[in-house]
Each structure stands twice: as structure tokens, then as C-alpha cells.
Symmetry: C2
Subunit: 472 residues, 2 copies
């Protein structure tokens, strides 16, 4: 493909994306593809000859689109909001077009310095002090793994420079709530702590970590000669956006010298609203924190914001300095390759830069307030509806609920009934919901916050929920 062909096709692709976005509400939200259906449409062997890109848009429509679940759809209430705004798409065109590698400062100084600046902008927007320094990771899973490894190395006084976790008598322990995201357990296991040294602490009726149970577990571990190492606090759990009591946890972390990592992957975005910051009171005492602008801030995946108090510790754990990567400026600049797991780095900060320029703080705040108000409206409807049960508090934009027909008390029946409702709505194509299990009870999750989701879409969902529930 030459430059002229790229220019021509590029314009076609922009129009294709613009047309797609304009017609989004017409698509069924969840793909109805059967397993293997997309695969079956593609050749089994790679193309031998060049020049096969001319009709790719037709193939995208015919082959790929039936297999797309539309995360930007106004009827998307599944999982979590994860939208790629127009501004973010434009930024990605620049990132791909320039094709720079941001592994070291020298490999493209702008990639490092724009990241420094926009991560500092975001810090200010969240109301965090200058004690935090930010770096972009791909996902909260990766950031949390980094946090747990940093905790491991702090508590073990840099065991990685000696025998690692091997051969010693130490038993470092990690604590989090039983509602913490699966990435906490995964991170602890990948980091070598072992499942026997992970305590998933019981939660209260609001699904927040119980401080009394945490204290008891720590004391028991200490008595058994184990070494408490890290505590992960969840500000906004995945299932219900439950909020762990951070202020109390900071006291415990300080007393037992625990690394305090705050997983605010979803709810962290809400901290650009001053009225929400009580949710993470105590955050300044955290050692590390992660939030995902690719969830609720319109910044396309992947852009996870990881903030740490002690960048030198992070670099000491993650850093490498082989001869083929050394540059003359290494002492005066940040080499973000040493701030995470991957060596190579895309120019992802452009996405956040463009989104902030396009929306401004006020624009982003208005969107989040809209979504929280929409969730509040739905909460009121559920609370007033006699046959519906709300299963968790609604601090932000996620609701957990279930339909309880008169007289239906058997949990297995209730489960089947509510799964049937979810399934019917997903099959309708008008909305997409997912579910979760809360203290043994299966619930319908409604996660509000796609950029395009307005009050009327939430109203339509509620009407559909009641309509479908009445039919079973």
C-alpha cells in the first residue's frame, strides 16, 4: 500500500467508523454469534499474494460485525462501562501513525513527557496530593501484580536480589476482601505468595471488608509466625461497587507495616467529583493505587493509571539497565520501561490528553454526574417496586437487583427466574446485562455509564425488565 492508497483507504475507514457510531443503536447490543461461527467464515490458510486489503471493509461488515458485542451501545449495561470516545480514537490514529516506541525517554522524549504531564493532570483532577506519581499500565490486573510484587520486595528486604521467595522460612501474607476482583488473587498467585498465604476476608452486609475479621486474621497470622505483607483495599468492588473502609484500613496498614494498595479500577474515575471523595477518605496513606480511565472516562482501552508514592522503589523492583538500552540522559529522565512489566510501550498518553482537551474537567464531571443520577433514578424505581429486591447499596452507577415474584422463596427457583430474565433481555438485542453471585444469591447487575446512555435508555431498560419479568 502506498501513501496515496493509505490516504484514500484511511478516509474510507474514518467514514466507516463514523457511520458505525451513528448507527450504533440499531445493532443488537450483545453478539448472537455461535461459538466458531466467525472462525468458520475466515480462510484456514494465510493469503499468499499481496493486495488483499481493498475489500476489507466489506469483510469487516460480513465477517467481524456479527461477532461484536457493542460496548459503546446506549443499551450496554453489562460488566462495566468501557468506551472509546471520538477524541480517544483520534489520539490512537496519531499513536499508530507515528508508530513510536516509548520504552525509554530517548526512544521518543515526547512519549515520556506527555505521559508525565497528563498523569499529573489526572492526579490533580482526582484531588490527590503531589506525593503520588503516575504511570500508565495496560490494565488494573497488571498494575495490581506490580503492586503485590513491590510489596513482596519491600517486606522481604529485596529477596529478589537473593533467593527470591525460595528456601526461606518466611511466609508473606496478602489480605483483601472476598469481594475483591479476581486479579487480586491472580496477582498474589503469580507473584508466588501461594493461595495458602492469601486471606480473602469476609465482608459485611454491604459487601465491604470487615475490619474486625481482618484484624483477627492478621493477629492469627502473626501468632503463627507469618509476616503480613500487603493489604488491597477495594474502592468500588466489581460486583456491587462496594467500598472498603479505607480510613480504618490505613491505620491497620500502618500498624502492621502492610503495603496498602488501593484498587479503584472502576470507582476511581468518580473521584474527579469532589462530592464523591469521601468514598476514599484516607487515600493519601496508600502506597499504590490504580484506576482505569478506560472504564469511566472515555479513554479507549488500554489505559490504566497507576499511582505510587515511592517511584524509586518501583524502579528498583522493575528496572533493568542492559548496555543496549543505556542512554546519555538516563540520570535526568524517566525511563518508563522500568516502571512496569513490559519493555516496549505505546504512546498511550495521547488518548488521555485528547480526551481531557475535548471534554475538559467540567465535561467529564457532567457525564459522571449524569450516570450517577441515572443510577439513583433506577434505584428509586427498584425500591418502590413491590416485586423487586435491591441487593446492595448504590454508591455510584452499579445496581444489583432481582425479581422476586410473590410467593417465590426457593433460592434455586429465584436464581433460574432471574437468569431467565437476563437471558431474555440479552437475546432481545435492546440491552445487555450480566450477573453476579452475592453471598450465594444470583443477582442481575446493571452497570450504567456508557457514554451514549441517557435517562431514556435507563427508563427503557427498567420498562423491559418489568415487562420480561411479568412474562415468566
Amino acid at each position: 500500500m502506498n501513501n496515496d492508497e493509505f490516504r484514500e483507504l484511511g478516509h474510507q475507514f474514518i467514514d466507516w467508523v463514523a457511520d458505525y457510531r451513528a448507527s450504533l443503536p440499531l445493532f443488537p447490543v450483545m453478539s448472537a454469534a455461535k461459538p466458531g461461527a466467525i472462525r468458520a467464515k475466515l480462510p484456514k490458510t494465510p493469503p499468499l499474494k499481496s493486495g488483499g486489503l481493498g475489500d476489507i471493509l466489506k469483510d469487516l461488515d460480513a465477517t467481524v460485525m456479527p461477532g461484536i458485542t457493542h460496548w459503546n451501545h446506549p443499551g450496554f449495561f453489562a460488566y462495566f462501562p468501557s468506551n472509546t470516545s471520538y477524541a480517544s480514537i483520534l489520539a490512537d490514529i496519531v499513536a499508530s501513525g507515528l508508530g513510536v516506541q516509548g520504552m525509554s525517554w530517548q526512544t521518543s522524549p515526547a512519549a515520556t513527557e506527555v505521559e508525565e504531564v497528563v498523569m499529573d493532570w489526572l492526579r490533580q483532577m482526582l484531588g490527590l496530593s503531589g506525593a503520588f506519581t503516575g504511570v500508565i499500565h495496560d490494565t488494573a490486573s497488571t498494575a495490581t501484580l506490580c503492586a503485590l510484587i513491590c510489596a513482596r520486595e519491600k517486606t522481604s528486604n529485596f529477596s529478589q536480589t537473593r533467593n527470591g521467595l525460595q528456601g526461606g522460612a518466611s511466609k508473606l501474607v496478602v489480605y483483601a476482601s472476598d469481594q475483591s476482583h479476581s486479579s487480586i488473587e491472580k496477582g498474589a498467585l503469580l507473584a508466588g505468595f501461594g493461595k495458602a498465604n492469601l486471606r480473602l476476608i469476609e465482608t459485611d452486609k454491604d459487601h465491604a471488608l470487615r475490619v474486625d475479621k481482618l484484624l483477627a486474621a492478621i493477629k492469627e497470622d502473626v501468632a503463627m509466625g507469618k509476616l503480613p505483607c500487603a493489604l488491597v483495599a477495594c474502592i468500588g468492588t466489581t460486583a456491587t461497587t462496594a467500598v472498603d473502609p479505607l480510613k480504618q484500613l490505613t491505620d491497620i496498614a500502618q500498624k502492621y507495616r502492610l503495603w496498602l494498595h488501593v484498587d479503584a479500577a472502576m470507582a476511581g474515575s468518580a473521584m474527579i467529583l469532589p462530592e464523591c471523595r469521601w468514598l476514599w477518605e484516607g487515600i493519601e496513606a496508600a502506597d499504590s493505587m490504580v484506576l482505569n480511565p478506560h472504564k469511566w472516562l472515555g479513554t479507549g482501552f488500554d489505559l490504566s493509571a497507576y499511582y505510587v508514592k515511592d517511584p524509586q522503589h518501583l524502579i528498583r523492583v522493575m528496572g533493568t539497565n542492559p548496555s543496549y538500552l543505556r542512554t546519555a540522559q538516563d540520570d535526568e529522565v524517566k525511563n518508563f520501561r522500568d516502571w512496569g512489566i513490559p519493555l516496549g510501550r505505546r504512546f498511550r498518553s495521547l488518548k488521555l490528553w485528547f480526551v481531557l482537551r475535548d471534554q475538559g474537567i467540567e465535561g467529564l464531571q457532567a457525564r459522571l454526574r449524569r450516570d450517577i443520577a441515572n443510577a439513583g433514578w433506577l434505584k428509586d424505581q427498584v425500591d418502590q417496586a413491590p416485586d423487586w429486591e435491591r441487593m446492595a447499596p448504590v454508591p455510584l452507577q452499579t445496581l444489583c437487583l432481582r425479581h422476586v415474584p410473590k410467593g417465590m422463596k426457593d433460592e434455586a427457583l429465584l436464581r433460574a427466574h432471574n437468569m431467565a430474565i437476563t437471558e431474555a433481555i440479552n437475546q432481545s438485542g435492546r440491552a445487555h446485562l450480566t450477573s453476579a453471585i452475592l453471598k450465594g444469591k444470583k443477582v442481575i447487575r446493571v452497570s450504567i455509564g456508557a457514554e451514549s446512555t441517557e435517562r431514556k435508555d435507563v427508563e427503557a431498560l427498567w420498562a423491559q425488565l418489568r415487562d420480561v419479568a411479568g412474562k415468566f
Copy 2:
């Protein structure tokens, strides 16, 4: 930004990228920005109001472009080739435009199934048997960390389900050459093995791993009661593209039950050329292998291809299955979230799909043969030039060389002289080189293989090298 504004700006961005690509040779290859210079051009606080994207292209030109090192420039001979081809840029527009999340099959079946298909196409192109199954990771660093954790869990019989690496007497050991990439050491340390349990084995005069030294190290470890766990073979080391004797290593791996991971990050792409496959003879015995299509195959960063023999083992190590992620199809489909560290996943396979459609196997093969021939030409020039010394074999497209003026024998002087040459060329803006240290000697590295680099560009570099060297 509304749909019409996106469409209009999108066209401007395509033209901006096309203009940039057309004028690439006019840019100085390496950014001359001073530390902090880009940062100083940006506001210290985030924008409050929305609507600031209209003049972003001007800001990109004024603020960002002076801080870009141009990896797609025909004079880019630094580090490794890492180009984003036109086809790959178009694919990224689709990935960003659709904004899908490919964490599970259900979250967009096409994201999973296109990945299955194109990774199988690539497998066929590399001449690998169907015993290998592929998955996309961001980087070889991440893939290698996964491989080492999988090795750890295999040798320890899934210690992560118990005490991890803690509290036992086991001492698992990892082996690689002293020329292996820094990500091997980083991976071993992050996985908790500890530096004392990492053996970086001496290399021969061609910088390939010495089998005798490896065997001696293994035997010594066994005698000390340690447990050999993983062996990383490098097919194409970073400094010189040295090739470890894979066939012999497979025998050793089998005998000592070592997990054999092959790091072919750079050189793996060359295996689409049947005439190069002798370089990794024995590959079929590997447990895992990584190569980077984002290096030498025109697929924009980030797209690392990770192949494994036993996907069930990978899933058992990396998998999670919380209630909020379960779907009805989990038993019949691949959920790639369980094949690596991050949960969320971009639709990256589109890039490889588009590149293969655009170039075809023949197009990619022609490009690689061109680059290898260009490296061969430069090798001949260096070998025939009396004052130049070639420091390593040239199996592919990387040359290590130095200028040795008559009578200059002192290593410190030679080092300073060659660094001055490198620096002068980088400052000229016409080409960009990096360096490495080989057995204590500082060498100039010439990595040939930017998509736009033709013979004339390599000739120009050689003329400039001799010209600059003659001036000191």
C-alpha cells in the same frame, strides 16, 4: 465532539498521518529534545472547559513532533525495527472505533476468533506444527514472564495452590545465556525465583550459549540439591542476533525436565523464510515460544505472538473464573483473559489480519529477504575495509562493528572513539544508531529493517560512518 465533527477531524488526522509518512525522510531521525523540553511546553494544569481539540494538530506539530524519534524513518538503524505499516494503522482505527473488549469470548466473539485464526495463520507461516497454539501478548517481556511462571508451576506441581514459593526447601533454577535479553532476568526476579537461582551461562565467541557450561551448571545445581526448572534459549539475541544451539538444548531440557522457552522476539519473524529455519532447528520440542510481529513484520506495537504446547497448563496457571465473568459458552470457547496477565484485551489481531491481507506471505518474505541482503552487503563492506572490525556473525539483519584507527589499541580509547562516531551520526539527524557492550568491548550496532529502508539508505549510512570516522 459529535459525529460530524469526528468525521471531519478524522479526515484531517488521516491526512496529517499521510503527510507525516510522506515527509518522514525530512525529519531528523533521533529527537534532539533536551530533557524537560516537551514537558515545559504543556500547561501545568488540566483544561477546565471542553472543546479544546480543534487546534490539536497544530499543538502536535509544535509540541509533540520535536520530541519524536522516528522509528519508521529510512535512516533508523537503532535498537530493532518496529514499524507500524499503513495496513496496521487502518486496523487500529477499526479496533479503536469499535472499542470492543476482548477479555472473554462473549464480550466480542470476533475478537477471540479472529485472533485464533490469524495466530494459526502465523503458525503455518513459521513452519510450526499444529502442536503449537498461539495467543497475543503485548510484549515478549510479558510473554516470557508468563513462560517462567508456567515453568515454576510445572516443576513445583502447582505450588501456587499451596504456599507458592514460600516456606519450602525447594530451589528452582532458571538458565539462560549471558546474552539473553534483560526481560529474562526481570521475569525470573518478578516470578520470585531470586537472582541467586538464575544462571546466566557464558557464551562462545559468537555470543551463543555454551552447552558445556550449561551442563556443568545444571550438574552443580543438582549436586547442591537444587531443582533445574526452566531454560530460555535465545534465537537472535538483542545485541548481535546470536543463535543458541537449540537442537542440543532440547536434549538437555528433555533430560533434566526443564521447561524450554524460546525467545525469538526479533529473529522469529525470519522463520517465514524457509531458508532461515535451520536457525531454530529443534523448535518443535519447545514448551513455549515468543516472537514479535511488531518488530519485523510491520504489525504495529503492541503485538507479541506467544505460542504454547499445552494451553490447558497456561489456563490453569493464569485462569480465574469469578461469577461476574462466567458465561454460558465457557466450556466451548477460548477466554483469552485466562491466557495471560491482563484481564482486558484490545482487538489486536486485526493488525495482523490486515497486514497479512495487505502484504501476503510473499510480500513479507520479499521485505525480509531485502533486509537480510542489505545486511549482507554492509557486512561485506565492513569485512573489506581495513580499519573496521566486525564484532559478531551476521545471521540476519543486525551488525556489530567498530572503527579501529591504525595503531589504536587501548580499549578505552577505542570505546571513546566509537562512541564519538555514534554520537556524531545521531546528531546529524540522517541516521540513528545505538551501541552495545560485547565481552567488555563497546560496539556500534546497526539494526537494518525499517520498512522504508532501502539499499541506498544502507549505502548512505556506510558512507557516513567512514566519513565521520575519518574526521576524528
